[in-house]
Symmetry: C2
């Protein structure tokens, strides 16, 4: 059994690699929902959708989000009707949000709605939201707080960030199955996602970080930092704001209380000793997922790096 | 000023003819909302939309509903996700329902949401829902009650009907502007809509029928029955169930307490005396709206048939 923690587009691509390497039914994916938003009255879960689309072979390769070959007729009409349109939903993508909203309105939990959508798309891997309670990633800027999508999509992460917090996290509970999937698994893989705003919200749900520290499975993280820069998105800026080193060492710092091995790109070899100083092994490989083959190779390299069970639980549990 | 009462696809086509004949800003359209439904969690108002699309030049000519050239990508995906799909929403059409639902959720009335959508589509005629209160047309069948869309679209009106009632009508109020538009107008035109399920719900809203009886404007109705049969839909079956004659005379009977003139098709000339026996004038013309020219000609013939104001209010007000 393999458990993956993920958020964002890099994470979805990594999940594709893992299900190419091992039977999908052996994979549980725990997904960030801190980016969720109500858009046009619909419950949109960008990270859950990216994972579902990736697993169903529907994810748009070029954009990295939404459905391959999707059209935007409804969006164009919404613009004409005076609705906001900076967050783009394709016509096929829209169905997922309509269906999720409908299932939630009928009393299903987000876990149940996610499972039903995954079943309809013939996905055998298990997709779990991190929590069924609302946790909202809030970005503190000069002009006030923004939701993650306002910051990331509307402002294209060009505004200076002074802080990030996860509204609702303190009172949130891990969704059913999440803690079990961390405790009873052969390996936990942290996808190459932004440590602050993709993995951060998951770790902010009380109980999840402790389960990572206590699990007997080995924990590997794939660095989203390659050659000292983020492959995409504002990871470097947000890590700096959080006081983390802006290198693969910073990724290791973010996870140091539970991480066993960091999978980093070969071009970051020079920084490996700084990671090893934290008591974390480094596995150097090619981490750029620019083809299906590269995704599979990264997944295989990661799985090879976490063969054994931990000798003992990590001790220095934080938060 | 011209006030039209309408519902259904024939009504929308007639409205197109009227705004070709007179300045659209002089036209108020009072629309049936008894067919409204919640679909995929959205507030869908089929008759309001048909009128808006007709007035914006967007109405699909072939189908008679929805948007010309619309695509159905979202619908196809909703089917795949296990949602019901017998009521079809196109991708562009969907935007109208999303926007309306969003406006209603933000506290606007249906009147306000309708006005905002109409403004966005650059419609100069005034579109008014009959009521901002929920009135639901219920169809009594062998197997229980159906909503109008379940009866009309899902069952394709092939099930025997034992009764029709308008749930919520007794407590409903006419929407703002409706009574004024009936009282302060030069003519009231009842579109060639089903008298039972398109005009019936409007007349069931307390105050509207009385306003039609009391107005000093002349009231004309265009018969949806041509050559003794309905141009489309279940008008004949529903009129028979209601105890109305299944001819142009039955249309006159449905409106006898307020109708001044019935516009009927030339091929129904033989039935004209039966209408005139009710004290209602008959104007024979071509009522088949199979081209833009025919729509305009029907509107012109109707407007010519209602030149004068009534000498006195109709007396035998019902309900």
């Amino acid at each position: 059994m393999i458990t993956i923690l993920t958020g964002g587009t890099g994470g979805a691509k990594f999940v594709q690699g893992v299900v190419a390497a091992v039977p999908p039914a052996d994979v549980t994916v725990i997904v960030n929902t801190g980016d969720d938003l109500t858009w046009w009255g619909l419950h949109v879960s960008p990270d859950l959708d990216s994972v579902a689309y990736a697993l169903a072979g529907l994810l748009c390769r070029e954009r990295g989000w939404g459905v391959e070959g999707d059209t935007f007729e409804c969006l164009a009409r919404m613009q004409r009707l005076g609705a906001q349109s900076w967050f783009q939903l394709g016509d096929r993508d829209l169905a997922t949000h309509l269906r999720r909203t409908q299932l939630l309105a009928s009393g299903r939990t987000l876990t149940e709605a996610t499972a039903e959508i995954a079943r309809s798309l013939h996905i055998s891997a298990r997709i779990l939201p991190m929590s069924n309670d609302r946790v909202e990633t809030r970005i503190v800027t000069d002009t006030g707080e923004l939701s993650f999508q306002e910051y990331f999509v509307r402002e294209r992460y060009r505004v200076p960030v002074h802080g990030v917090h996860f509204s609702g996290a303190a009172g949130a509970r891990p969704a059913p199955g999440v803690l079990d999937a961390l405790r009873h698994t052969d390996a936990v893989l942290i996808a190459p996602s932004n440590p602050v705003t993709s993995i951060g919200p998951i770790l902010a749900v009380p109980g999840i970080r402790a389960a990572l520290c206590e699990t007997h499975a080995r924990v590997a993280a794939i660095s989203p930092i390659v050659g000292g820069a983020a492959v995409s998105g504002p990871a470097v800026e947000l890590m700096r704001m959080r006081g983390l080193t802006t290198s693969i060492a910073g990724v290791a710092e973010a996870y140091r209380d539970f991480l066993d091995v960091l999978i980093a790109d070969q071009r970051d070899a020079a920084t490996a000793p700084a990671v090893e100083q934290l008591g974390i092994s480094v596995c150097l490989t090619n981490t750029m997922m620019d083809s299906d083959h590269a995704k599979l190779a990264l997944a295989q390299a990661t799985l090879e790096a976490v063969p054994q069970r931990r000798q003992r639980a990590k001790v220095n549990s934080a938060r």
